[in-house]
Symmetry: C3
Subunit: 346 residues, 3 copies
């Protein structure tokens, strides 16, 4: 079954075909009946604006019918752990919920953010994988604890359209300040995306804000295939020098699970990592990227967002085109002019 | 007008035709334009996962357009009592709300759970009947204080598919423990459903958890028509012996309105009424049924839910097929291959 | 671009054409494919029942696809002020949100009620105008701090259908008591609507509850064009004498921004402004209007709402027809039998 948990679980042929198709959809924005008589269930355990709107419209543009559910908000909360005695707040187990939803729809989209309190669960992408395990139809990850593959594909298309040739171009994934500790699904996916495009990737972040070692390992392995590179640096100015893309993102420090107070103090001490016009001037007229939502003048200043190199709205637009490509792949649509040889990785 | 408040208000011809049609829809799952250019309003005063998804998809599969509203959650609360001075929390009366919605849509679905605090209102199905009274289009009950007819029809189809011949087969409606007092719409509908199928029905529950006398009376009357029977028992083991179907359900004790603390204490004392593999082994390889959501290892153990005699997911699937049949009846759809002589009961 | 902020911003040709078309839609209620392959985003910063349902169904009846978003409820809150450092509760700025949504849909509808605490922001319709400024597709006002043009058009159609000839007929916009201070978008729009129809308009309200001077000025200017008139009065009985339409509405006192406690005390002292059968008997068998939701027996008694001169449900129905006309205008639909010469005012 064509689940999309993480692009790393799939053959690069799938990625290549979906990326090409996302670029095609932006040029050929159109409605069709390709997915007529298909229903899509969208389950948001966490809030969403872009993803729920772009997924709903993506389905509609393909002729499919989407239903959006927000557990805990008009629907009860769902238990995701196995074997527990459910005498707490959750009224239903993910096993029943997704088993049943699979009888109503032809694919599911699921959003389950990282807890940032349970390291083991987050590392294992436990909640999202429980939803996949319980489903008998394809499941698309709409941002889990670990990955945000819809964002990743849309971002790749944005970089490709913006830069043209991406190989050996320099992308800085630049940590940014934020009043709250945020999950790492987006930075994880961003570093993988850039590695997949053969870019020179620098993850610039203060000490104590490194990404997980296994993600960096996976990205380095991908870069070695594509001729790119992945390095880390705590030197913002050095990293930005000559950059072609600055991808800003706030994420939590490595101590968030063990010592959240220390993490908050550390995070607050790096307000100067905010992206401003001065920082952007060090780059090679870099495109500015951010996944949104973004807190203006905390993460990045108004001036950067209003510059004509800002690509954050194009990024968001590409979510629609990328998700149309993903739905076509998930449903193996015939006649969509889109084919993939040998779907799942070995 | 073809309202569906309770199957007991309708001719058995309607029930028979809808049941046959629900079974047909499962075998012929398909999209059509049968209800094209019709809109359906779904109003949930209480949370829902299965009902809102299956109703939305049922409408879509028939070519209709559904709109879901959740009063109090993106919409204000609604007053359901007559003649009151509305200076409290509710900003709108059900009379205006349903009068107006009737101008926008071609049928309404309404969910209003039992209050469990106002016995008179619950007994009279006051909130649901107020919505019906205010509506000038057909209204479908999506679970009221007294009845859950969509569940009832789906359950009948599930039992029919699972057992084949249902007459004289033994169905135990088995009370189960739960951390909260729950309404009785589902057990009320389950006992009626089984009586309508000509089954030997035993309502097994601890002392103090009997169903309402008038519901049992109605079920016995129905059983006398179909050649079935309806009895009550406080002996779980005896009831389960030789059963063909075990329908587990938690519901509140009879003292819930007068003495909720006593009810809670009583309820907590019957944790051993939980359905487990040992209990199921007393039966004649009974199918296990539950309306969902179900609290695992409180109401029923993992082992029972994972056994191949568990029919709870099929039950949920049949909600979709049953509701397609109900919408076809409500709208009197021509050319649906589905006809009913003499709709409302005398 | 065909934004609809306020009818006062547009040529009267647009108003006339939309009004005629709304009346036509009620007589020719029908589904079409006029807006096929168009998506409509509906963003509600405040609750809604009528508007969200009627807009969703209006879109569906035109063949378009609507997506409803409720920021703060399944989506994060949005910042509407410029230049702020976003370290508070709001996670996203309206600039990004509406910039992005404009990439997904072909028009947006936006509801942003008056704050009733920030006079400057409310007077400037700041939140709604920020959404318009950030959007690159047409935006329809679904009730802002200042105006409710969808209500206004539907109300004009209701008055026209009910009275036939509207010129020189007497409409009393009659203040009503309410437990909460309410915004003035509806009374502002009601007085403009009646002036536009050439009616003799009396705004009857207690001392301290006058409408904004600039709105009255605008309405008087409009009345001078149409041969109507606009006056204010604190004498309810005198105003109602001989009225053809009584439009009841609660709104906050003029002191709400400066001294909310005083406003509440004042408001509570005028409970006798409630519309009852005795008040209606002073009129010339006037039609009763209210925008809904209405608090029964606080704003108006049951007897008035149940009289056959009550037009409040027809008013609500006209929302659907009016909004179909508005969407047709917004999208400049060809072949809808609906054309407007010279859209925006000079």
């Amino acid at each position: 079954m064509n689940h999309l948990t993480s692009w790393s679980d799939l053959s690069t042929d799938v990625w290549d075909a979906c990326l090409e198709r996302a670029l095609w959809h932006r040029q050929n924005s159109a409605w069709s009946d390709a997915a007529a008589h298909k229903a899509l269930g969208l389950v948001f355990f966490n809030p969403s604006l872009r993803t729920r709107t772009s997924m709903d419209v993506a389905a509609a543009q393909l002729g499919a019918h989407a239903v959006t559910l927000t557990p805990g908000n008009g629907t009860w909360g769902l238990e995701t752990r196995d074997g527990v005695t459910m005498d707490g707040l959750e009224a239903e187990h993910v096993t029943e919920a997704f088993g049943v939803l699979s009888r109503y729809v032809d694919a599911l989209g699921v959003r389950t953010f990282a807890t940032l309190t349970d390291h083991r669960a987050d590392r294992a992408d436990q909640a999202f994988r429980a939803a996949v395990a319980a489903s008998t139809v394809p499941v698309v990850n709409l941002e889990s604890a670990r990955w945000h593959p819809c964002q990743e594909l849309g971002d790749a298309a944005t970089v490709t359209e913006t830069l043209g040739e991406t190989r050996r171009k320099k992308l800085v994934l630049h940590w940014a300040p934020h009043p709250k500790p945020l999950p790492r699904a987006v930075p994880n996916s961003a570093v993988m995306m850039a590695a997949r495009l053969g870019m020179e990737v620098i993850v610039a972040r203060p000490p104590g804000f490194g990404l997980d070692a296994d993600v960096l390992e996976l990205a380095k392995k991908e870069a070695s295939r594509t001729g790119g590179s992945v390095t880390e640096s705590a030197d913002s100015a050095g990293a930005l020098s000559g950059a072609n893309v600055v991808y800003a993102k706030a994420w939590s420090g490595t101590s968030v699970y063990d010592d959240p107070d220390h993490e908050a103090t550390q995070r607050a001490s790096h307000a100067d990592w905010r992206i401003d016009v001065a920082k952007m001037s060090r780059t090679d007229r870099a495109a500015f990227m951010h996944c949104l939502p973004v807190r203006r003048n905390v993460v990045v200043t108004d001036g950067v967002l209003e510059d004509d190199r800002a690509a954050h709205v194009l990024q968001a637009e590409y979510r629609l085109h990328a998700q149309k490509a993903i739905l076509e792949w998930v449903w193996g649509l015939e006649g969509s002019g889109f084919s993939v040889q040998g779907s799942p990785a070995g």
